[in-house]
Symmetry: C2
Subunit: 142 residues, 2 copies
Amino acid sequence: MRLTRAGEYGIRCVRHLAIHGQGKLVSRKEIASRTEVPPHFLAKIAQQLARAGIIEILQGANGGYRLLNDPAKITLLAVIEAIIGEISLNDCVGRPESCRDSALCTVHRVWNKANQQLRATLQEADFATLAREDACCLTSFP
Amino acid sequence: MRLTRAGEYGIRCVRHLAIHGQGKLVSRKEIASRTEVPPHFLAKIAQQLARAGIIEILQGANGGYRLLNDPAKITLLAVIEAIIGEISLNDCVGRPESCRDSALCTVHRVWNKANQQLRATLQEADFATLAREDACCLTSFP
DNA sequence: TCTATATAAGACTAAAAACATCTTATATGT
DNA sequence: ACATATAAGATGTTTTTAGTCTTATATAGA
Ligand code: SF4
Ligand code: SF4
């Protein structure tokens, strides 16, 4: 697992939208500026979020992005994995066939357990809760 | 966090030594061949393990590596962090100053919790247990 | 309809990190 | 002395990440 910048930026984007509420349209420009993400980079990330069904993208003048679902239903895990793919702490967790005999390896089992635990923790965090308690200067009003 | 190949190789090396027991000298050549690690790469990794006080390196003819401590005292976490540095799932976990206001960020708190949990899980795994139960073809006798 | 403004999509580039090898030096047993 | 082993770090290759640029398309409003 490795949270790339793209992953971190994706989280910031969804968090910013969550603070504004489900369905509220926010321009890419505003999101990019408030979350300190390069606008063109945000565009690519937004496309991944859109493909994952997390946000909707509106083109044209006064276009922008908006959350498709209730922030309470959107988990940190879903956003992260929409950007960087399924979390895998070691190669053999996601692709057991990558190591000759992962079936018998005790280290492999530790990684599997740790991976499962990590994903569970990230799944418990929803954006309604994250946004409600958040006072981070990056995304807070005004 | 990202388990690099170097990290994975370091674990394999210590596991192979643990199977042979504390203090038992094993040549780099044998370790490299049995764990399928490029010999020169293993040399660099071994140096990191030695600096961390996990193994001892003996030079000269019939040289090699050996575990300094009881495998039961060596944790997966210690070995990993000797190679890749302290585990940090997101940049702001290890370096809070890298983000403007991590003190107020709720996402930051989730990362901190997940990071702590992960390190705890990896600390619970010791190499005596790992080696005893292990039947992986990479390292098992003969 | 025309124009200004917005994003779509993917090509392209630069920088960084990962992965590995090579070279020269040093240590040790015979 | 010599064969064999690792030390240490320079060097090189490949892959990934991070970011930018270009051309196309969609929409609101004059
Ligand atoms: S040796 Fe075990 S932990 Fe390492 S890659 Fe293979 S299965 Fe995974
Ligand atoms: S916004 Fe929060 S989670 Fe993201 S880098 Fe900053 S402190 Fe960390």
